[in-house]
């Protein structure tokens, strides 16, 4: 064993193999990038309003309580399919109204219940956030989550 596997052989296998896997990975990433843009997220236009909504989402650090497509903190519900849950996936006005009503009622102050903070959000931002969540919901996520509960 020690004659076949010398230190320099082990090193060469390490460098050579790593380069090979990096090349394969980069090629697959390029293909995935195209797939995302052309197929999996093409169901709804990536409008300025959706972009704005993503910034609103980020500015308030929603990801550190909620999950989105299963990624984030696990303290609050999944939001990748929240518009499906609310039956508002195809209805921008309804999506805005439910989201606005929900967020303005926070924090609930109920003892022993997890509290969502109150966020200072304008109507324009709230509409953008609703559009962003609708946009995220139409992504082809290989049928994840298993059910509407998220």
């Amino acid at each position: 064993m020690s004659e076949i596997l010398t230190k320099s052989r082990a090193r060469n296998v390490f460098y050579g193999g790593s380069i090979f896997f990096v090349v394969v990975f980069v090629a697959m990433t390029v293909q995935s990038h195209r797939h995302i843009v052309q197929t999996s997220t093409a169901g709804m236009e990536l409008s300025d309003e959706v972009r704005h909504g993503k910034h609103v989402w980020e500015r308030h650090s929603c990801i550190n309580c909620h999950t989105l497509h299963g990624e984030g903190a696990y303290f609050a519900p999944e939001l990748g399919n929240v518009m499906t849950r609310w039956g508002a996936l195809d209805d921008p006005e309804l999506a805005y109204e439910i989201l606005d009503g929900w967020m303005k009622a926070q924090p609930s102050g109920i003892e022993g219940r997890r509290q969502m903070p109150f966020f200072e959000i304008t109507e324009e931002e709230m509409r953008a956030l609703a559009e962003f969540l609708r946009w995220a919901d139409q992504t082809d996520t290989q049928n994840w989550p298993p059910n509407d509960a998220g």
């Binding site: 790593s18 990975f25 697959m28 650090s61």
Partner: protein
């Protein structure tokens, strides 16, 4: 300490331990918010505390790696660090950046990509610090003796700094955002950080066991080869449900299954080296942390990772407390314990004294390791119930969470043990100046 400039590692390790304290206290508060959700809910909401908890962890682990590099590169390269001054400037930038980030989180200024919430100026500060670091250690490395340990360490550090560039790339398309986000997050902890871990572990084995360098270095190359061969395409296990193509389910499942291999190899490597080594090194605490790190990394990253990495399983467990269980034990075993092993080994040398307080230090190992293990078990049970109730039965998130109170209470208890262990560790490193428990007479070989 063979080289005067190794002393900079001391400042890095002390800063890292201070942040470690902040990190675990933040974690304790989060654990308490799970138990009693109204705690500070308007003054200091969960999302803010969580940013402090995760960011403090990442920064102190990096400070530990930087300090470890400043400690071991001179010894391996057989020369002083290129510039001690640059090393201190780098540390100052990182400290200002960290305090700036924590301060801005507290007043509500932050980004919204998980773990990369730092304001832009802090991100640039980290970039500048990384460049200073790379210049400093690379010039030291290039001028001196090159060993497998420094080759692998340098490769890991260069790649992790280069990948930081993806922290600046935030596409408007959420799925693209997520895909490139993993270039930092996954390719750090499941690829480049593993190189750093293997290099530091190799260095510790070399010092603590007295096994021949040729043997250690050969196996190091084998270990890091298995790490990158599995870890690079293993990124696929994050590409199942974010809008990326379906073939990642197979690529991710197969390659991330092999991600167990480097962790098993590191554990076997550490135990075999200790078994083969004839050196009776006085620093038993460093040895305990080294063996403990590789073992807990195998369970936390390897076994608990495999537990939910196959796409058929992950379809149901993705984004539940199962993920939290794995995340906690993996980070603790692979990176926290490894850094503490390095601190335990290097601090006495840096302070030019015998390795005191080993009993306290070893007690802190068992407190923290016991606490983290129990935390992992409680979260695994919570996650199993959550997976069944929410993903199979279809009950709503909060209805399920309300049924998990007992597990969150036990998790808080285990968190208390971890915090006590962490404080005990810091105390044993920095405060006590003599051996608290007297060692027995010289050991006589048994019958």
């Amino acid at each position: 300490m063979k080289y005067q400039s190794q002393k900079v590692a001391y400042a890095y390790f002390v800063t890292a331990m201070a942040l470690f304290g902040i990190q675990v206290l933040g974690g304790l508060l989060l654990g308490w918010i799970y138990v009693s959700p109204n705690t500070l809910s308007e003054l200091l909401p969960f999302n803010i505390v969580r940013m402090i908890h995760t960011n403090a962890l990442i920064v102190w682990l990096l400070l530990g790696f930087f300090g470890a590099a400043y400690y071991l590169v001179p010894e391996e390269s057989e020369r002083e660090i290129f510039s001690v001054k640059l090393a201190y400037i780098q540390l100052a930038i990182l400290v200002v950046g960290t305090l700036g980030a924590v301060g801005s989180y507290l007043v509500g200024i932050h980004g919204g990509r998980e773990f990369l919430e730092q304001p832009l100026w802090v991100k640039f500060g980290i970039l500048v610090a990384a460049v200073i670091f790379l210049v400093n250690v690379s010039l030291t490395f290039l001028a001196g003796r090159k060993t497998a340990i420094t080759n692998i360490l340098m490769m890991g550090l260069w790649l992790l700094c280069l990948l930081w560039v993806f922290a600046f790339i935030n596409p408007d398309n959420l799925s693209l955002d997520k895909m490139y986000w993993w270039f930092v997050v996954h390719l750090w902890v499941e690829a480049t950080w593993e190189l750093v871990m293997a290099a530091i572990l190799g260095f510790l084995m070399l010092k603590l066991t007295g096994v021949d360098r040729e043997v250690i270095e050969k196996w190091l190359y084998v270990i890091v080869a298995t790490a990158l061969f599995s870890g690079i395409l293993g990124t696929g296990h994050h590409f199942y449900w974010i809008g990326t193509p379906g073939y990642w389910q197979w690529v991710g499942s197969i390659f991330s299954t092999f991600e167990v291999v480097p962790f098993f190899a590191m554990m076997s490597f550490a135990f075999i080296m200790v078994w083969k080594g004839r050196k009776n090194h006085p620093n038993k605490a460093a040895l305990l942390w080294s063996l403990g790190s590789s073992t807990v990394a195998f369970f936390g990253a390897g076994v608990w990772g495999f537990l939910h990495t196959l796409h058929g399983v992950n379809f149901y467990t993705h984004g539940t407390q199962i993920t939290a269980a794995h995340g906690h034990l993996a980070f603790y075993g692979a990176y926290v314990a490894l850094n503490l092993a390095m601190f335990s080994y290097a601090m006495p040398v840096l302070r030019n004294r015998a390795p005191y307080n080993q009993v306290l230090n070893m007690a802190s190992f068992w407190l923290m390791t016991g606490g983290m293990s129990f935390m992992t078990f409680t979260l695994t049970f919570a996650g199993t119930i959550q997976t069944h109730m929410q993903r199979i039965v279809g009950e709503y998130f909060m209805d399920v969470q309300d049924q998990l109170d007992l597990f969150y209470l036990m998790r808080f208890g285990s968190g208390v043990a971890v915090v006590l262990g962490a404080l005990l560790f810091i105390y044993s490193m920095l405060v006590v100046r003599r051996e608290v428990v007297k060692p027995g007479p010289m050991a006589v070989p048994g019958e």
